[in-house]
């Protein structure tokens, strides 16, 4: 592996890959493989399908590297492509049950998402916080909310908003709503 590539920006690597520099493309794969795989696995909840989509995302990058313009958006492009492919997969397999802006009870959920005054103290919450339990709670969220939680691990809210073409406030509200659901699930001792 070319050590020079490790210090290069995503944009530089894509430009080099477009010019046939294979090691630059491979560096991009190594840079994002874990995050993208985890993101896809979280969205489709199926390791085999996540693996197939993972390959499709990087094949798309390889085939369209020449079309990229240096705008610092390679990471967003990768996650957006992964997201689109995952949602297409879910739609085709009729597993996409809740991409609209309503919760399970049919309420508009995407805006009023902030904590009320009846929150339990932090100490109560931490008693049931384990990484496994949190992952279970997140994986039990509707796909759109799960999406925001996972995207937030790799992108800023601003980048997510740009990527999804949503107002920043909406994305922030989505994220906090999802966190609220996880919190409720953890403190009530039941998975959503």
């Amino acid at each position: 592996m070319d050590t020079q590539n490790k210090s290069r920006s995503d944009d530089e690597l894509v430009q080099l890959a477009a010019n046939g520099e294979n090691q630059a493309f491979e560096e991009l794969v190594f840079r994002y493989k874990n995050a993208l795989y985890q993101y896809l696995k979280a969205l489709v909840q199926d390791e085999g399908a996540a693996g197939d989509l993972f390959q499709e995302v990087f094949l798309a990058l390889f085939n369209h590297a020449a079309d990229f313009k240096a705008q610092g958006k390679v990471k967003s492009w990768l996650f957006l492509t992964a997201r689109n492919k995952a949602f297409n997969f879910l739609r085709d397999h009729k597993a996409l049950t809740s991409l609209d802006q309503q919760d399970e009870e049919g309420n508009e959920i995407w805006h009023e998402t902030l904590p009320d005054d009846s929150l339990p103290p932090l100490e109560q919450l931490t008693s049931c916080e384990t990484a496994q339990r949190i992952r279970e709670c997140i994986n039990a969220l509707p796909p759109a909310q799960r999406d925001v939680i996972y995207l937030r691990q790799y992108l800023s809210f601003k980048e997510i908003a740009q990527m999804l073409h949503k107002p920043l406030g909406t994305v922030l509200a989505d994220g906090h709503r999802a966190i609220q659901k996880v919190r409720n699930s953890l403190t009530q001792g039941e998975i959503l």
Binding site: F54, Q55, Q153, K158, I179, R183, L186
Partner: protein, 131 residues
């Protein structure tokens, strides 16, 4: 600023002054503290595990390490050639072992005898000329 407004601030987007205010607010607000703690716990719970190496290899096999067409078809070509040789061998063997029918045999023998005769005759002439 209310909790509702505070919570909308992303840590990276706060100014240093806002960050200081936020930290001060956290000391006094249990719900924001809890929210912050949970955000961090989620971040720790979702640290990505490694993607399987086979997947990465599969990507490279289809892109940067893609073998030329003739190598990918090499096995097929070798198999095809072997099958062709075997078929030709079987066909040849079959041809050699197929018995003549009577008419073919008579024709063959007469032609062969005639050829043999001409050959013998010409060789005899040459022999006589020499001696």
């Amino acid at each position: 600023m209310t909790c509702k407004e505070w919570i909308k601030f992303e840590e990276g987007e706060k100014t240093s002054q806002q960050l200081a205010q936020w930290k001060a607010h956290l000391k006094t607000c249990a719900s924001c503290r809890e929210h912050e703690a949970l955000s961090q716990a989620i971040g720790q719970a979702l640290v990505p595990s490694a993607a399987p190496a086979t997947l990465v290899d599969a990507v490279f096999a289809k892109t940067t390490r893609k073998q030329p067409l003739w190598i990918r078809w090499k096995k097929v070509l070798v198999g095809g050639m072997a099958a062709l040789f075997i078929a030709a061998g079987v066909y040849g063997f079959h041809q050699r072992t197929t018995p003549f029918n009577q008419a073919e045999l008579v024709t063959y023998m007469s032609e062969s005898n005639q050829d043999d005769y001409y050959t013998f005759s010409s060789e005899l002439d040459l022999f006589e000329q020499e001696f």
